[in-house]
Symmetry: C2
Subunit: 407 residues, 2 copies
């Protein structure tokens, strides 16, 4: 059947990211590589009680068509914490935010169409759009202010001058950017919002970390600024647990029916059982306490990572100082001439320490490839605070050795 | 954002089937319309215990990457009951069999490619392939022997003569056909298998009802005959419960990695929690007893439906005598001049009895449209046996009235 595979799939491989995650998740490895939330934070007891309740009391939980209208109201309430005014009719439940990306891409991207996105971004958008062989329009990112709205403006204005069509879609992660750990600054957010509305470019806003802020709430997302141009995605993976496979989209109401068709053709519907279990967990005050706890734990780990980076890598690199989420991004100084893939190999072999090389997050042939090659994503979500100093010291040791060699 | 939707989606609507299911599932209606399994058969207690166990004992249940290797072995064992020899490496878990269809279509169907399928078929294949605007090659079906292999042979041979490419894929439901309730005869199965292999056409074999046989096991499916040309799909929806949203594909091992990529870009992975819960339910002897119970209950309902049809509709129609599954298909005699949509309207209004008009299962412009228009799908899965006589008598009453009017 090999020869019968669709063209786009024939030479396709598992995403580099997922391959690497496998490579670096061997036992005994001190890993800053995973994109996993801390399992100790999963509300296991609450979920156990909620699943038991749904199975004991609600006969629709296991049947087709078991949509929980209550859950949609609760999602509207969750979104309001991000400053989004939505209605239950605008909610489309998804099998995690990844399915939200897939649905949004299928809904917006024509075969051979154009995608506007960060030069380093979540690989899920790369993977999901790839079958449509799109033209990729990359915009620069920086570690302090996030996605560069001014560069995007030049790009879009230039295209317009050349009478070329606007991109089919833009993809942005407003906060806790994966892999960059940055939040788009208020000024840039506003510039992006105006730009996208002016050029009539629909935005996929991927916001799984929106409620995982540390010192203060993140600025309002795009869905609160240009709702009619935004397909907003989030999920319960980072605030409850990924094993639930439950996320949601907020879409303009006029499109909800048709986007529901795309969902339906993908997997019919989300588990009614899981919908009910999550809805039960969201009742009452549990979520507030839980979110505070999650934020506290991750903030402490972020602090431990940043202290270790300050201590050991200041001469060699720059990195993001995340105000939420699970990641920091580190760029080795260009003049060191060190690439992160060989650095990873040495770190794994000699230090049993892992991270993800930045190149995993850029597209083949990206203009940012040189930068991505000397970068790494550092996850701070799953290590105890006391482990960061040793892990970062180990990476620094290898950097120093490689730097000496280069001189 | 309306104008930004991808072309295929702009004028798209919810499938007629799903619209109708909504229409006919009002309270108080005696419904032969739904495609739902009987909720009394869901193993609610076993699932409650299994979810509780997974949450109490297995920390990976709620994390990413929580694949249950044990479940893959159990799926291999399930498949062996259908005469399929598979290996765990050939299993791809899916969010229900609908996602299996979606993954298979994405893997095989090029934009504007060709799909070979029954002239009346499960709407999920229509809906999932539609975005690729395929050419549809319809093959006839009959109510006794199922999909017509000889007609397919002529079609494929003719295309070959004309030096046109073989179809990108074929889609067949070997047993308990939805909507037809028929099983493909042994002779036709063998002819189809040889034909597809000879023309090198990959087959999506959709087999959700494969273990829901009544008097005797169904004949071996295509996966047991031409495994290298078959992407086999099934799910736990009909044998445990649809609210689990868990199904599986069996694919040639050489393709498993790439088909895994398609799954991953769709929704990353299936819930580790649900995988564990289902795996627990499958341990021990429970499933055997459960399947026997399910078969017994549905067989009794099938009998009650067929008796009622024999009694009330013999002069007016022909129908399938299903050897498993959940559906029968009834075709009103052409000379009556009665279409099933107006018949449904009258049945709903005057009798509070519902069924699904056959036209919901044919493609727009289908060569079988005339036949589909005077047909209906009758589900026997959710009504108590004593209700069929009244429901069918009510439909017969309306048929008689319309027939008199036509004379």
């Amino acid at each position: 059947m090999e020869a019968s595979l669709a063209d786009w799939l024939r030479d396709r491989q598992r995403s580099m990211l997922r391959q690497m995650v496998k490579l670096v998740s061997k036992p005994g490895i001190l890993s800053l590589a995973g994109g996993l939330p801390e399992p100790e934070l999963f509300p296991t007891e609450q979920l156990a009680a909620a699943y038991a309740k749904a199975l004991a009391t609600d006969p629709r939980a296991l049947q087709y068509g078991g949509t929980s209208e209550r859950l949609k109201e609760q999602i509207v309430e969750l979104a309001s914490r991000r400053g989004i005014r939505a209605r239950p009719e605008e909610v489309v439940l998804t099998t995690g935010a990844q399915q939200g990306i897939d649905i949004a891409v299928r809904s917006l991207l024509e075969q051979g169409g154009t995608v506007l996105l960060d030069e380093m971004s979540y690989t899920g958008i790369h993977q999901t759009a790839a079958p449509r062989t799109p033209e990729w329009l990359e915009t620069p990112v920086d570690l302090e202010h996030g996605s560069d709205a001014e560069a995007a403006r030049e790009l879009l204005d230039q295209r317009k001058l050349e009478q070329r069509a606007a991109p089919d879609l833009a993809y942005l992660i407003p906060d806790g950017h994966n892999p960059l750990g940055v939040s788009v600054s208020e000024e840039r957010r506003q510039a992006w919002a105006e730009l996208l509305a002016r050029h009539q470019v629909p935005l996929i806003e991927d916001d799984p970390y929106g409620l995982v802020w540390f010192e203060q709430e993140f600025a309002a997302p795009f869905k609160a600024r240009i709702p009619e141009w935004t397909l907003y995605l989030s999920s319960f993976s980072k605030i409850l647990a990924p094993g639930l496979r439950l996320g949601f989209m907020l879409v303009p109401e006029a499109l909800a029916e048709r986007i529901g068709v795309v969902k339906e053709s993908g997997d019919l519907e989300c588990s009614g059982l899981t919908q009910r279990a999550v809805s039960t967990v969201l009742e009452g005050d549990f979520l507030d306490d839980h979110l505070n706890h999650v934020r506290g734990v991750y903030a402490q780990r972020r602090d431990a990572l940043l202290e270790a980076l300050d201590r050991h890598l200041t001469p060699f690199a720059t990195w993001t100082r995340p105000r939420g989420g699970m990641f920091s991004w580190l760029e080795l100084n260009a003049d060191l001439g060190i690439e992160s893939v060989p650095l990873l190999e040495r770190s794994l072999e000699q230090e049993q320490v892992a991270f993800l090389p930045g190149i995993a997050f850029s597209l083949p042939g990206s203009g940012a490839a040189d930068r991505a090659k000397r970068s790494m994503r550092l996850s701070f979500s799953t290590l105890s605070p006391e482990l960061f100093d040793g892990a970062v010291a180990a990476i620094a040791r290898q950097v120093e050795q490689l730097a000496t060699r280069h001189r």
